[in-house]
């Protein structure tokens, strides 16, 4: 392996590392400089747009415009003829097992509930518990590690976990080795549609992979929020004789609530748009389809943009309730100050 190129190109790396922030800070300082030249009454009208402007341009160009194009496409067929709701009708027909319904059920029920619940609960528990031990950095790094593993590599890991060998043979999968140790038959974790073909077990097996991979995210952010709680508040509560659990319920949790809402919202959205894990591990087989995977397959395998667009819009509509909840939160904070 030849690493000499790394040294050779360090000047360019430095140039980019320094150049990019210089451009960005230069923008805001320069723009503020110009705003100050404006008459007093115009400044408050112009200033916010200076600050949100770059973000608006980025988001409009890379996300908003493609989304609008998708919305339009969802009402047209693949040849550009307007077809009204036909694409939606074909995706939403055949309840409960036809069209996109399996994917809708898995994304909006199984993934949303279990993924959000587990990532949030484990993340919060870890943030609070790890905060109290000396070796915090070590255990946090270990929990964070799966985040740094790509989805392909983590599918290899979980292959080792879920591997299935028939009863009687030596189990090579970790979980089945445990299960057979307790004299239970090995389980085909990713195929088994327990119970009663409701496909809860195999979907939860996939959720587990994602929870394992993503709990580091909520742990880190919640931990940052926890560190932001003023120490004197906790001291005061302790002086009042409050137990640790009471302190958590009455002081820590309320103060962390805004961050819990942010993390929870993000997790809901990530749950609804989950793609990687089902894609690399089952590709939707045995009723493990999810919305983003269905969209992907319609887009790239079926080359059916119209249907893919309709599925994407269903996915986007599914996050609207979370947004409304956020708006309320947002206005509540506003009202308090």
């Amino acid at each position: 392996m030849d690493f000499s190129i790394l040294l050779q190109d360090i000047p360019t790396l430095l140039l980019v590392v320094l150049g990019v922030p210089v451009v960005l800070v230069g923008y805001i300082v320069g723009a503020e400089f110009l705003v100050r030249r404006l008459p007093d009454k115009n400044r408050p009208q112009v200033r916010p747009w200076i600050w949100v402007g770059p973000a608006l341009v980025f988001v409009a160009a890379f996300l908003m415009i493609p989304t609008i194009a998708t919305l339009i496409q969802s009402f047209n067929d693949n040849h550009g003829n307007f077809v009204g709701f036909a694409n939606y009708v074909s995706q939403l027909s055949g309840f409960p097992s036809g069209g996109a319904w399996v994917a809708i059920r898995n994304s909006i029920l199984v993934w949303l509930i279990f993924y959000m619940f587990f990532v949030l609960t484990f993340g919060l528990a870890m943030a609070v518990l790890f905060d109290r031990v000396q070796y915090e950095t070590l255990v946090k790094s270990l929990i964070f590690m799966p985040m740094a593993i790509s989805s392909v590599a983590s599918s290899v890991i979980w292959k080792f976990m879920y591997w299935y060998q028939p009863a009687g043979a030596t189990q090579t999968g970790t979980l089945n080795a445990v299960v057979t140790f307790f004299h239970h038959d090995p389980v085909a974790w990713l195929q088994d549609e327990w119970p009663n073909n409701l496909a809860i077990l195999n979907n939860l097996s996939l959720v587990t992979v994602a929870v394992w991979g993503f709990t580091g995210f909520s742990m880190v952010i919640l931990s940052a929020a926890l560190k932001g709680i003023p120490t004197d508040l906790l001291e005061a509560a302790r002086v009042d004789g409050a137990g640790e659990i009471t302190i958590f319920r009455r002081v820590i949790f309320p103060l962390m609530m805004p961050t819990v809402v942010v993390v929870g919202t993000t997790l809901v959205i990530f749950a609804i748009k989950v793609f990687d894990v089902p894609y690399v591990m089952t590709n939707g087989l045995d009723n493990t389809d999810v919305l983003a995977l269905r969209m992907y397959n319609l887009l790239y395998s079926s080359h059916n943009n119209a249907a893919a667009s309709a599925v994407a819009i269903v996915l986007l509509v599914a996050v609207v309730p979370v947004l409304i909840f956020n708006l309320r939160q947002f206005r509540a904070v506003e009202a308090r100050r």
Binding site: M1, L6, L13, V16, V17, V20, L24, E32, P44, R47, P48, W51, A55, F58, A61, F62, A69, F122, R132, Q134, V139, K140, L142, I143, M145, P146, A148, I149, S150, V152, A153, V156, I157, F160, M161, T170, T172, T174, F217, V220, S223, A224, K227, G228, E244, P258, T265, T266, I269, M295, Y296, L299, A312, L315, A318, N326, F330, V333, E334, R337
Partner: protein
């Protein structure tokens, strides 16, 4: 800092008093919970680590835990094969060139926007903010064709960029920034919004402008949020494969490390045991970033500033 509670809890009771014993038990339970949780969490990673030192034939026929007892059959073959790829140096360099600007740009731009969303008043502010959050749900695959068409039409492709003296990754930086902004803005705006408002009022009385407030008050107080954001944005870009393949392609001169590592397995999926070694290799840099930003996760940043 984080040990403050621990030391304090132990010092409140006299040795061997009932309270002291209860506290002792609570401490032990805490350690059991922390270590148990961590242990469960690292089992898969441990399996991967052990497997990365095992020969292919054994991976297929026996569980990874059997390698932990004699006869030991460890090998460095997987790591050697992975590192034998000819252009790893270039790939690592490219990964830095992709990841650093793709982290700096969205975090900075998001901080500007979040400040405005949190502390300025302008028409349709809440709705624009909600749109930002909602766009977090857009599956990126939807954006590939429109964005790439735009890049093609305006020459934001590696060959063209090089010929006009810009790095070949500019398009990728912009795309990653666009994709990273909804989350970045959302997280930071929430954090900024919950800063104590008296800080802003007193700054205004002192005659400080928005630039001063932003750089002197908001940013220093938000270091933990900024640090966690940097960790995640860096991580997502560092581990990205698909977006890079779409906007810059997989040619060795421009492709990031993830492309090299994905190419370890052939078109039939053979050689996936090399991915075990690759996973640990590609984890090093994100872990370094994580650990080096750890010192910003300390208690009391806010408390100190409020008083000062």
């Amino acid at each position: 800092m984080s040990v403050a509670i621990a030391t304090r809890a132990e010092s409140t009771a006299a040795r061997w008093s009932v309270r002291w014993i209860v506290q002792r038990i609570q401490r032990s339970l805490l350690h059991v919970a922390v270590l148990g949780l961590t242990l469960v969490w690292i089992v898969p990673t441990l399996g991967l680590l052990v497997s990365s030192f095992r020969p292919t034939a054994s991976i297929l026929t026996t569980g990874w835990w059997t390698a932990l007892s004699p006869p030991y059959q460890f090998t460095l073959q997987n790591f050697q094969d992975m590192l034998a790829q000819s252009n790893m140096g270039t790939a690592i360099f490219n990964s830095f060139m992709v990841s650093i600007p793709s982290t700096v740009i969205p975090v900075t731009v998001a901080a500007f926007a979040a400040y405005a969303f949190a502390w300025m008043k302008f028409p349709a502010r809440d709705w624009i903010f909600l749109a930002f959050v909602g766009l977090l749900a857009v599956p990126l695959q939807l954006t590939f064709v429109p964005v790439l068409s735009f890049f093609v039409a305006h020459g934001i492709l590696p060959d063209n960029l090089i010929s006009i003296g810009l790095p070949p990754w500019v398009g990728l930086w912009l795309a990653h920034s666009g994709y990273g902004l909804p989350f970045s803005t959302y997280l930071l705006a929430n954090f900024f919004r919950n800063l104590p408002s008296d800080l802003f009022e007193s700054a205004e009385i002192d005659g400080a402008g928005p630039l001063t407030v932003f750089f002197r008050i908001v940013l220093p107080l938000s270091v933990p949020a900024l640090a966690s954001l940097v960790i995640f944005q860096f991580l997502w870009v560092w581990n990205d494969l698909l977006v890079a393949l779409i906007y810059v392609g997989g040619a060795p001169e421009v492709a990031p490390l993830t492309v090299n590592l994905a190419d370890l397995t052939n078109s039939l999926g053979q050689g996936y045991q090399l991915l075990t070694a690759a996973a640990f290799f590609s984890m090093i840099i994100p872990l370094v970033v994580f650990l080096s930003l750890q010192r910003y996760f300390v208690r009391g940043i806010l408390a100190g500033s409020v008083k000062g």
